[in-house]
């Protein structure tokens, strides 16, 4: 129902986005992060900001879809979708009415590495809102009617993904890249696996995924450290410890070359890339900076310049480091008219080769440094954004003072370091192209 056209589309870069956000944190935040140690043994990062009477709270539970049995693919996602659908004495409708009566916003989401809670609630009724969140985390009901309803919605979403060229491209790239590892699967499962899930499977997934020893907590807004400590303990201290082990890491396995997927649409969607950089790699920041020059989702990147501005071959193109907890890739996305596909592939290969051979110029390095460091205050865009960033940063293993060192680290990267990274990251021979749609060959 769009009534508005945007000048530049946001790129649908689903994977590894959390990391990108945190890695893009500019330095010397003028926000003051307080580490809150709770009596129950949890650590939460808090930015206390009492000018608006509400709190934003984000909690990540590590594990996500990666810990599920392949035979039950999608169980963590379905379980997560049911966390707000009835808990304790409240069925789905009563729970929703209770939430609305408090004007609390409580949402859960599942990804390949985490199950996440994102909540906002008013100072006025904080305790009652916390009670609802606690109920959702501890005592989900998994009522049969709610399970069927949410299952049908998940199946519908999978059906739509099955005919969406962007989703097909992402899924096929992941499958080629990571094979049988959990990262190679759709975290929402398959129509068959989701159809087969029962109440026992959901309860087991809840027991496995919502545990007290794999949590990362960020909070921002109108709450004191003591009150936050009490709130966190109340929400989490009685959860069980994790029993299901986290999976091993996975290498990048895709064979270079073009992998075509037939699809009948007006455009061809291309997912491209190869192996990436581990997020714990000491040079990760250099990779992040180099990618920002090459294809970070802005105007003025090399890819946007050569494909959009100079030649009008696409509406948008970008690249991103997808560095998850268990494996990594370096990817990009572009869609174009089928007749332009051969030209687009040639340009991508040439741009890749140029980065590998020559790296970035001093001028580009200077400009991207200015951009990244200047963008600093723009990240901390309200309580909701701050809570989310802080939970992600902890999940990714950043220190609490990282925010205060980051710009200096960006500024300290020398041209040699950046170009050593370019030579290491970009490998034109290794490029994998997943092409969904008409290959354009017959238009040559």
């Amino acid at each position: 129902m769009t009534g508005i056209l945007l000048h530049r589309a946001a790129l649908g870069l689903g994977l590894g986005l959390g990391l990108l956000i945190a890695a893009a944190l500019p330095l010397r935040a003028e926000i003051d992060i307080t580490p809150v140690e709770t009596p129950g043994g949890f650590t939460a990062w808090l930015v206390q900001e009492d000018s608006i009477p509400f709190v934003a709270l984000d909690i990540h539970f590590r594990g996500g879809a990666s810990i599920e049995d392949p035979a039950q693919a999608g169980v963590v996602n379905l379980m997560t979708g049911l966390l707000g659908e009835g808990a304790g004495d409240l069925d789905a409708q009563a729970f929703a009415e209770a939430r609305e009566a408090l004007a609390a916003r409580i949402s859960f989401s599942a990804g390949r590495d985490t199950v996440s809670l994102s909540a906002r609630f008013l100072t006025d009724n904080r305790d009652a809102a916390a009670e609802l969140i606690r109920l959702a985390l501890h005592e989900p009901r998994f009522d049969a009617d709610a399970v069927e309803r949410v299952r049908r919605q998940v199946l519908s979403s999978l059906r739509r993904d099955a005919v969406d060229p962007n989703a097909i491209a992402g899924r096929e790239f992941a499958r080629l890249a990571f094979g049988d590892h959990p990262y190679g699967r759709h975290p929402d499962g398959t129509p068959e696996s989701v159809a087969a899930l029962d109440g026992d499977a959901l309860r087991a997934a809840h027991r496995a995924a919502i545990t007290r020893d794999r949590v990362y907590i960020g909070a921002a807004g109108d709450i004191s450290p003591d009150d936050l400590a009490a709130l966190v303990d109340h929400l989490l201290a009685d959860l069980p410890e994790a029993e299901v082990p986290l999976p091993e890491r996975t290498p990048f396995q895709a064979e270079p070359g073009v992998h075509a997927v037939a699809f009948d649409g007006p455009q061809t969607v291309i997912a491209f890339g190869h192996a990436g950089i581990e997020r714990d790699d000491p040079e990760f920041l250099a990779a992040f900076v180099v990618n920002e020059v090459f294809g970070g989702g802005r105007f003025g990147t090399r890819l946007m310049r050569s494909l959009r501005e100079e030649r009008g071959l696409t509406y948008g193109v970008g690249s991103f480091l997808s560095s998850g907890a268990l494996g990594e890739s370096y990817q990009g996305r572009v869609s174009t008219d089928p007749q332009h596909v051969p030209q687009v592939l040639d340009i991508l290969r040439a741009e890749w080769a140029a980065m590998a051979a020559d790296g970035i110029t001093e001028d580009e390095a200077e400009r991207v440094r200015t951009f990244l460091t200047g963008a600093y205050p723009l990240r901390f865009d309200g309580n909701a954004a701050i809570a989310s960033i802080m939970a992600s940063m902890q999940f990714q293993g950043f220190d609490i003072d990282y925010v205060n060192r980051r710009n200096d680290m960006v500024n300290a990267l020398t041209p040699d370091e950046l170009n050593a990274m370019a030579a290491r990251l970009y490998d034109p021979e290794a490029l994998v192209f997943v092409m969904v749609g008409d290959s354009g060959a017959e238009h040559d």
């Binding site: 508005i4 945007l6 689903g14 100079e310 509406y315 948008g316 200047g374």
Partner: protein, 449 residues
Amino acid sequence: MFLRFSLVMLLLFARPLWAEPVSHFTLENGLEVVVIEDRRAPVAVHMVWYRVGAADEPPGRSGIAHFLEHLMFKGTETRDPGEFSAVVEAQGGRDNAFVSYDYTGYFQRVASDRLALMMEMEADRMANLSFTEAEWLPERGVILEERGQVLESRPNAQLNEQMRAALFQNHPYGVPIIGWRHEMAELTGDHAMEFHALHYGPNSAILVVAGDVSADEVRALAEEFYGPIPPNPNVARVQRPMEPPHLAERRLVLEDARVGQPFVSRMYLAPVRQSGDQSEAAALQMLAALLGGTARTSVLERALVIDAGIALSAWAGYMGTARDYGIFSLGIAPADGVDLQEAEDALDRVVAEFLDTGPDEAALERVRVQIRASEIYGMDDAQARAREFGTALSVGLTVADVEGWLDALLAVEAEDIMDAARMVLDRNQAVTGWLTPPLTDAQQAEVSQ
């Protein structure tokens, strides 16, 4: 991602805004200025809104408002193509632009001490836009690719385009903002410059600045950078063709193999928010919230998704912030095994029951609680508040209307909602669209009956 069911329309309540200082003044050259203070972070959003959009295009040149918006990034008499965005980036900022039927907007988010530079550049392209064929020709390729990506690759966007074309029989709200492909392909840089010369100037613009700024600072900067630009004498409200009486229901079916989830969508022609009297629009907004504003507890979701189990989702929405016409919409995505006719019938049955019984007072109260809370949550997002002012002022509403919108919503009583429902839910003023994978012959026969 869970439940990213894009069809569910979320609450569309306006964010209440009076809680933080809002200033409003007009420069001598006609530039209207709104300043929203939010001192929590040293950031500012700088937006210029022109009161001109796709509904003001000359016949045969659909898409020119949007094409011009792209070309606004292609340089001025003294700035190179792409320089605008490059400078914003060099300041660590972000910029973008957008086009709707009634307005075109340009904005940057930057550290608040960079505001002067943003104004200098925005004022420059307001007055001195300049580019060559080397810029506009590839950019026309970009907008054609954009149409391919955001419209032609998405059957639900295509259905929406077809439905609007059927809903509006005479008014340009029926022409797509991005343009019809055959007309876009003929657009030129001269057409864009002509549109700029006719419609862009301080006297057609609204400046909205939100963030770590004071009204006095903004006034001084606006006087310095925008003040010297003379009013554009060409600027005049385009007389748009208006709708004749609608006498017959319209229906259409879009079949496409790329449809993963079929659904039924209906658009009713509706009134818009009127400056000085927003009560009818407020009642329509409350009607949409009660019928389909929330998952699980709204009338449609409860009856069709939870109780009857025949839908995956059902929704209602109201878009009333527009210059000429609003749209009230309903929709249903059926569960597996339920065909679109059954789904549409069930939707209509539930709406008819609602018209009989009226709103549940407890449900109405829950909606009011959400509205009051949105005042608090809304303060967390200065950019959204800037957008709300820009949109409203662009379509002819006033600062007082924006600040009074929440009260207008809270003043709505059950009887007002019923009156609004009886007025708007007229199938003769509506178009119903089905989105479906290719139908079998038997289904076809049924549809055509």
